[in-house]
C-alpha cells in the first residue's frame, strides 16, 4: 500500500498509509481465491463475511461491498486501519502458504472509505421494541453494542465521560494512523442509526448504575476501557518533562496540542526523548514526539526486539522514520535539573532469563551495567489499567484483583442482572477489534435478555 515518504511524514501528522485507489483495490481483490471453506472468517471477532465483500469489490459493486461489511461491522474504516489483520484473518489466508495473504484490512478500508466519500446510507430499522439500553463509554466496544442494538430496534443512549465520543480512537491513536475525521464519520453513522450520545457524562459520578435503572433503562452495558496510566514507580518520575503516554497522547490527539496556540492545550517537547515501553502505544508516542520536532527519539524496552508487543507494521514505520531503539534496557531513576525538569535517565542493562508465566523470557538486570541517558523528555508507555470509577460506585459488581469487571466471555453478563460489560474493562488492555467483538457478543445477549424480560 502506498505510504507517505518517511522523511516527509516524520514532520507531519497526516495519515501515513495513503490507501488503495480503485485499480489497486481491484488488483488485490482479484488475488482472493474465494475458498469454498474460507479460514479468514473463522477468527474475525466481528464475524465479517470476508470473501463476500471482496467478491463485491471484484464486481466493482463498491457500495454493496461497504454495506456487506457494515452488516457485521459498524466501524469498518477504523478496523481497516488499526486491526492487527496479520494476527487474525490474514494469518489464516490460504495464500500465506505460497506468499503474501490477501490484504483484507486494506480492502475493508477501501470499501469503507469509498462509501464515506460518497455519503453513507443507513439501513432500514425494525419496529421499535420499546426497550431502552444505556451504554457507558463511546469507545470501540460501546459504539459496537449501540449500533447492533439499535439495528435490533432498541433505544440506545451512550454516556461518554469525555467531551468527544470515540474513546481510545480519539484520545489514544494518533491522527497519522487513524485520522479523526474517519472516527467522526463512523460515529456520525452510528448517531444516524438513532443512537443518542451524551458527552461529559462520567458514570459513577453524574449517575450511578442504580440511577440509570431508575431512569428507566432496561439494561446497561459497561465499556469504560482501560484508561488509567501505569507509572514505573521509580525515583524522579514526577519531574517536569515526564509524561504518562496517556497524558502525552491525550494532549496531542484529543486536545490537538500539536496545533497550539491555535488550539488552547499546549505540549512541551524537548530535543532528546525517551519512550519507555514496546507496545503500539509506545510506537505512537515515539512517532508523535518526532513529529513535534524532537531531534532524537529512543524507544527503551526491557526485553529484546523479538518480544516487542507492537504490530510489526508499526515497528517498521517507526524505524523508517528514524526512531532509535535501546533494547534490554530498563530505567531505574530520573535525574532532574535545578528547575525540576528531567535531564537524564539512569538505566540498567537486562538479559533474558527463564520464561515467565506469560511464556516470554523474563528480563533480569545485569549487575553493574548502570548508565545514564541524556533525555529532556520521557514518556512512560508501560500499559494502562481499567477505569475504576464504576467498580467503586456500584454495589454488587464483582471485579478481579486487577480491577477488571468479571463478565461472561460469551455473553458479557456481569454479577448484576441486566448489567453487561465488555472490552478492555473486562480483559485488561487489548485491541480495538477484540473490544468490538465483545461488544457484538454482548449486544446479542442483551437482545436476548430484553426480549425474554416482559
Amino acid at each position: 500500500m502506498p505510504k507517505q515518504e518517511p522523511k516527509v511524514r516524520a514532520h507531519n501528522f497526516d495519515e501515513v498509509a495513503i490507501g488503495y485507489g480503485e485499480e489497486q483495490a481491484l488488483e488485490e481483490a482479484a488475488r482472493c481465491l474465494n475458498c469454498p471453506k474460507p479460514q479468514c472468517v473463522t477468527c474475525c471477532p466481528v464475524e465479517l463475511d470476508i470473501p463476500g465483500f471482496i467478491k463485491l469489490i471484484k464486481e466493482k459493486k463498491y457500495d454493496e461491498a461497504a454495506r456487506k461489511v457494515k452488516e457485521k461491522n459498524s466501524l469498518p474504516a477504523i478496523c481497516g486501519r488499526v486491526c492487527p489483520q496479520e494476527e487474525q484473518c490474514q494469518k489464516l489466508c490460504i495464500l500465506c502458504k505460497i506468499g503474501e495473504p490477501t490484504a483484507i484490512g486494506r480492502l475493508e478500508r477501501f470499501a469503507a472509505d469509498y462509501e464515506q466519500e460518497k455519503g453513507v446510507e443507513t439501513p432500514p430499522l425494525p419496529t421499535p421494541t420499546g426497550k431502552k439500553v444505556a451504554v457507558i463509554g463511546a469507545g470501540p466496544a460501546g459504539l459496537t453494542v449501540a449500533a447492533d442494538l439499535t439495528k435490533l430496534g432498541h433505544e440506545v443512549v451512550i454516556f461518554e465521560a469525555l467531551h468527544v465520543p470515540g474513546g481510545v480512537l480519539v484520545y489514544g491513536i494518533p491522527e497519522f494512523r487513524l485520522p479523526k475525521r474517519i472516527v467522526k464519520a463512523e460515529v456520525e453513522y452510528i448517531e444516524k442509526l438513532g443512537v443518542k450520545i451524551q458527552p461529559d457524562a462520567l458514570i459513577g459520578r453524574l449517575h450511578t448504575i442504580e440511577d440509570l435503572f431508575k431512569k428507566g433503562f432496561d439494561a446497561i452495558f459497561i465499556g469504560t476501557g482501560a484508561g488509567l496510566p501505569q507509572f514505573l514507580r521509580i525515583p524522579g518520575e514526577n519531574l517536569g518533562g515526564i509524561y504518562s503516554a496517556n497524558e502525552f497522547l491525550i494532549r496531542i490527539n484529543l486536545m490537538k496540542a500539536y496545533l497550539f496556540p491555535e488550539y488552547d492545550t499546549p505540549i512541551r517537547i524537548g530535543k532528546k526523548v525517551a519512550v519507555i515501553g514496546g507496545g503500539n502505544v509506545a510506537m505512537d508516542s515515539a512517532r508523535s514526539a518526532l513529529r513535534l520536532g524532537a531531534d532524537e527519539v529512543w524507544i527503551v524496552y526491557r526485553r529484546s526486539r523479538e518480544e516487542l508487543p507492537a504490530r510489526a507494521e508499526e515497528i517498521e514505520n517507526a524505524e523508517e522514520e528514524g526512531i532509535k531503539f535501546q533494547f534490554l534496557t530498563n530505567p531505574i531513576r530520573f535525574i532532574g535539573d535545578e528547575h525540576g525538569w528531567v535531564k537524564g535517565m539512569e538505566c540498567i542493562r537486562m538479559e533474558l532469563g527463564e520464561p515467565d508465566a506469560s511464556g516470554r523470557r523474563r528480563p533480569v538486570p545485569i549487575k553493574g551495567s548502570e548508565f545514564v541517558m541524556d533525555v529532556d523528555t520521557a514518556v512512560v508507555a508501560v500499559g494502562r489499567t481499567p477505569n475504576p470509577i464504576i467498580q467503586s460506585t456500584t454495589k454488587g459488581l464483582e471485579t478481579t484483583k486487577w480491577g477488571t469487571i468479571i463478565a461472561d466471555e460469551k455473553t458479557g453478563q456481569t454479577s448484576i442482572e441486566g448489567v453487561f460489560a465488555g472490552g478492555d474493562i473486562v480483559t485488561g488492555e487489548a485491541t480495538v477489534i477484540s473490544a468490538m467483538g465483545a461488544g457484538k457478543r454482548a449486544a446479542r445477549s442483551i437482545h436476548e435478555y430484553l426480549m425474554k424480560k416482559r
Binding site: A161, L162, H163, Y171, P199, D200, A201, L202, R205, L206, H207, G227, L228, P229, F231, R233, E237, N238, L239, G240, G241, Y243, S244, N246, E247, I250, R251, M255, K256, L259, F260, P261, E262, Y263, D264, T265, P266, R268, H339, G340, N387, P388, I389
Partner: protein, 264 residues
C-alpha cells in the same frame, strides 16, 4: 462569578467537587471547583480569576451565553462531619468554594472560624457570605491593604485557640504555609489541590502529586488531601511546567482580541 445551568450536575454535586469546562471547540479543559449550587433551579456556581487565556475568554461570556462542555461532578466530596471547631482559610477565588465547604461544615454542627485572604483588597471574595457562617472572621491581604498583612497572625490564633480541624483552599504557596503552621499543633489540616489537569478523570496523570511518599492523582484520589503529607515543593514545580505556554496563549489571545475562536 457565574451561575451555570447544569441540572444533572446540580443534583449530584457535593462541596469540594469540581467540574471540567471547555469553552469552545479548540479550547482546553480547565478544572473549576464548585462554589455552590441550587438543586431546585439546577444551577451551580463557579468563581474564577481571569489569569489565563481560557479564563479571560470565559470572562467575556454574558448572561444567557452557553458553555459548550461541562463535565462533573468530579473528584471526591470534601469530608463533612461534626469535628468541633474548624478553622477555614480561603485564599483568592478559592475562598468561594471554601465558603461552600464551610457552610456545609457549619450545618453539620461545627463552629467555624474563617479567614478570607487575597493578594490585594480588590481581589477579596465571599467575605460577607463567609461572615454569615463564621463565629469569628478575619481578613488578610499580602500587601496589608485590608485586614492583617500576610498570614503571620494565624500563628497567634493557633497559639491561643483550640481547633479540631483546619480546611485550606487557595494558592499552593498559601496552603503550604498554613500546613506548616498547623503541623506543630498537630491539627488535622486538609487542603484542596488544583494541580494541572487534562481529563480530570484519572486518565492522564498530569495532576500527580506525592502524598506521604506515594504518587496520587489530584483528580480522582483528591482533590482534598492531608496537608501535612503533601510534597508541596514538587507540586509548585509541577504547576509551573506550562507557565511560558500559558503566557504565550494569553498574549496571543489578547493581541488578536480572541477573534480567531469566537465563531466556535
Amino acid at each position: 462569578m457565574f451561575e451555570v445551568c447544569a441540572p444533572e450536575i446540580a443534583v449530584k454535586a457535593e462541596p469540594g467537587q469540581f467540574v471540567i469546562v471547555t469553552i469552545q471547540e479548540k479550547g482546553e479543559r480547565i478544572p473549576l471547583t464548585i462554589a455552590g449550587l441550587d438543586r431546585e433551579t439546577g444551577t451551580i456556581t463557579i468563581v474564577f480569576n481571569e489569569v489565563g487565556k481560557t479564563t479571560k475568554q470565559l470572562g467575556t461570556f454574558k448572561e444567557g451565553d452557553s458553555i459548550p462542555n461541562i463535565a462533573g461532578p468530579l473528584g471526591n466530596p470534601s469530608e463533612i462531619q461534626k469535628f468541633g471547631r474548624v478553622l477555614c482559610v480561603g485564599g483568592g477565588v478559592m475562598a468561594a468554594p471554601l465558603y461552600y465547604v464551610a457552610k456545609a461544615l457549619h450545618e453539620a454542627g461545627n463552629e467555624i472560624v474563617a479567614v478570607v485572604g487575597a493578594r490585594i483588597k480588590d481581589l477579596l471574595v465571599f467575605e460577607e457570605e463567609m461572615k454569615g457562617v463564621a463565629k469569628e472572621f478575619y481578613v488578610t491581604t499580602d500587601d496589608g491593604s485590608k485586614g492583617y498583612k500576610g498570614l503571620d497572625f494565624l500563628k497567634e490564633i493557633l497559639n491561643e485557640e483550640k481547633f479540631d480541624r483546619v480546611v485550606v483552599m487557595g494558592p499552593v504557596v498559601m496552603m503550604k504555609t498554613v500546613s506548616e503552621m498547623t503541623k506543630p499543633f498537630n491539627i488535622k489540616t486538609v487542603v484542596t489541590l488544583t494541580p494541572i489537569m487534562v481529563d480530570g478523570m484519572g486518565m492522564c496523570g498530569a495532576c500527580r502529586v506525592t502524598v506521604k511518599g506515594e504518587t496520587k492523582f489530584g483528580c480522582v484520589d483528591g482533590p482534598e488531601f492531608d496537608g501535612h503529607m503533601i510534597d508541596f515543593d514538587e507540586l509548585i514545580k509541577r504547576q509551573r511546567v506550562y507557565s511560558s505556554e500559558e503566557r504565550l496563549a494569553s498574549v496571543f489571545y489578547e493581541k488578536l482580541g480572541g477573534c480567531k475562536c469566537d465563531n466556535a
